[in-house]
């Protein structure tokens, strides 16, 4: 079913999509975000706004979405299952839709232990799979999660989910992706790719099951600022794989930041030219939004397609 999402339009037209990420601030001013949005707006099709990522309290994704929209970019609202029960989720998402947002990314969310409020209670009323399914049903069958009818103005989101080819069990990851597609996911953003070989094996299994023809997969990439950032991810983030060669390459580089950007561009070009079934890239420039325009341009992805 078609939505008003510009991202959906671009992807459904068969064009290679580009999304990026804006992390809201740990305070109540929208100034920084708006600045980032202005910086990115000609270079991306839409941007994610993270939802208390790593369970660190930040300005809310939906509120940030208002600022981003106002600055000229289409937001992708991220909603985790950690902080809200199904009542709050539906309520917030209807609000988001009323404020002009058209894309939602459904995810489980990092456990609160990682954040700055580890003593809080977590919710996890529904999981990401159920959220995808029920959001889809809200749109296509006009039903609240409880099954009650939505009489009018149902929220019609373009629904996204995440896939992590680098987590375990590897063999089951593709099956679970298929399950998410069955549930109703229409676009997928993967976890950052550093282990290209594993991603290629993943995509091979995806193509074998025909999943790439049913859903738009955007490959996640991240420019690293230096070998310490790489090392940190390698050792401290569960579910991510960073090959040692990458760490060494950054360590030996004269200008690590430039090297990090070069690596990211190489990855994007490689994926675009060699891995069939990938319909776009998702550039997660963590705390480095400024570098996204250069990455997009040097990867040959500029200018972005115009939509009505």
């Amino acid at each position: 079913m078609k939505t008003e999402s510009k991202l959906q339009q671009i992807l459904d037209n068969g064009q290679f999509g580009v999304t990026a990420e804006i992390g809201p601030p740990k305070h109540s001013s929208s100034e920084g975000m708006r600045h980032h949005a202005h910086m990115l707006k000609e270079h991306v099709d839409a941007t994610n706004i993270t939802d208390n990522q790593t369970a660190i309290v930040r300005l809310s994704s939906i509120a940030a979405g208002v600022h981003i929209l106002d600055s000229g970019i289409e937001p992708i609202v991220q909603m985790t299952c950690r902080d809200r029960n199904r009542i709050a989720m539906q309520s917030d998402l209807m609000g988001a839709y009323s404020l002009g947002m058209r894309n939602v990314l459904c995810l489980s969310g990092d456990h609160q232990k990682f954040g700055n409020h580890p003593t809080s209670k977590n919710v996890y009323d529904v999981d990401s799979m159920q959220l995808i399914q029920l959001l889809r049903r809200m749109r296509d069958e006009k039903k609240f999660f409880s099954g009650e009818e939505i009489k009018e103005h149902e929220p019609r989101f373009f629904i996204g989910a995440v896939a992590n080819p680098f987590a375990d069990p590897f063999e089951y990851r593709v099956a679970r992706l298929e399950k998410k597609v069955e549930a109703g996911a229409e676009f997928i953003q993967t976890q950052c790719i550093f282990d290209m070989e594993r991603f290629e094996r993943f995509m091979e299994m995806v193509r074998a099951r025909g999943i790439d023809e049913r859903v738009h997969i955007l490959a996640g990439v991240t420019p690293l600022k230096g070998w310490r950032a790489a090392k940190y991810i390698q050792n401290n983030v569960s579910g991510m794989i960073v090959p040692e060669e990458l760490v060494q390459r950054l360590k030996n580089a004269e200008d690590p930041k430039k090297e990090g950007v070069d690596i990211c561009i190489e990855q994007i070009k490689y994926i675009k030219e060699n891995i069939k079934g990938v319909h776009g890239v998702h550039i997660m420039a963590i705390a480095w939004e400024e570098v996204v325009p250069e990455i997009v341009e040097r990867s040959g992805l500029y200018p972005r397609p115009k939509v009505n």
Binding site: C81, R82, R86, L107, S108, G109, D110, H111, K113, F114, N122, Y124, D125, V126, D127, S128, M129, Q130, Q133, L134, F145, V162, A163, N164, F166, A167, D168, P169, Y172, A175, R176, E178, K179, E182, A183, Q191, S238, G239
Partner: protein, 223 residues
């Protein structure tokens, strides 16, 4: 069974700091099995507190008793005679037992010596782990006998999440990823296709979220 652990001695001492005669009640049920509040632990606690109070030059008189269970009214009737002259009752039972004693001896200061932690079982002698989520609507037949509510840190019913790596949960290398275990078990059972079914959201009314719960067997009720 219920697994509990004793509070730090200092904390228990603080609760009865102005008491002169205290009754320590152990429980021969779950807390005996998990070595937290049985007869032996009760006597050790009483002895520790006697020594501690003597050091403070404020001796305490102690009486110890171990009930068969503290969660059945008929087993705590035996305490009626013992509570007359005590200033406080320290219960080494789980939270249930403490409440039963407080209920029966309304005019007595009843305090918990233990922190009731979870329901689970022993994995080796001296180690107990949480196993059951008390959700009130068991789904173990769908997950090869591994509870997704409590053994998955996010209570995911369609797992695993993206943080599962090398068979461990993202929150700690010491915690197994329940969904890795479920995947392995269902594969061994030849029932992997069951995991492709989308499990709907849980009805949490049957769990703690529905309010305090109650179970009844009408056919055995006397009154």
């Amino acid at each position: 069974m219920i697994i509990a652990q004793q509070k730090p001695v200092k904390d228990i001492a603080a609760m009865i700091s102005d008491c002169n005669k205290v009754l320590f009640v152990g429980c021969a049920g779950c807390v005996t099995v998990c070595l937290a509040g049985g007869e032996k632990e009760t006597e050790i606690l009483a002895s520790s507190l006697r020594i501690m109070r003597k050091l403070e030059h404020k001796p305490i008189e102690t009486v110890t008793f171990t009930a068969t269970r503290q969660c059945d009214p008929e087993y705590i009737v035996a305490l009626d005679n013992m509570v007359q002259e005590v200033d406080a009752i320290v219960s080494l039972a789980c939270g249930v037992g403490v409440q039963y004693l407080a209920e029966r001896f309304k005019d007595k200061w009843v305090v918990p010596a233990l922190d009731t932690k979870f329901i689970g079982g022993a994995t080796e002698h001296g180690v107990w782990e949480e196993k059951c989520g008390l959700c009130g609507d068991c789904v173990l037949h769908l997950t090869g006998g591994i509870c997704p509510i409590i053994r998955c840190s996010k209570s995911i019913l369609n797992g695993p999440c993206g943080g599962s790596q090398y068979g461990k949960c993202e929150i700690s290398k010491d915690v197994d990823c329940a969904w890795q275990l479920i995947y392995d078990r269902m594969t061994a059972l030849g029932k992997l296709d069951k995991l492709m079914e989308i499990q709907p959201p849980k009805d949490w009314t049957k769990s703690r979220d529905g309010g305090p719960r109650r179970a009844v067997r009408e056919d055995v009720m006397i009154g």
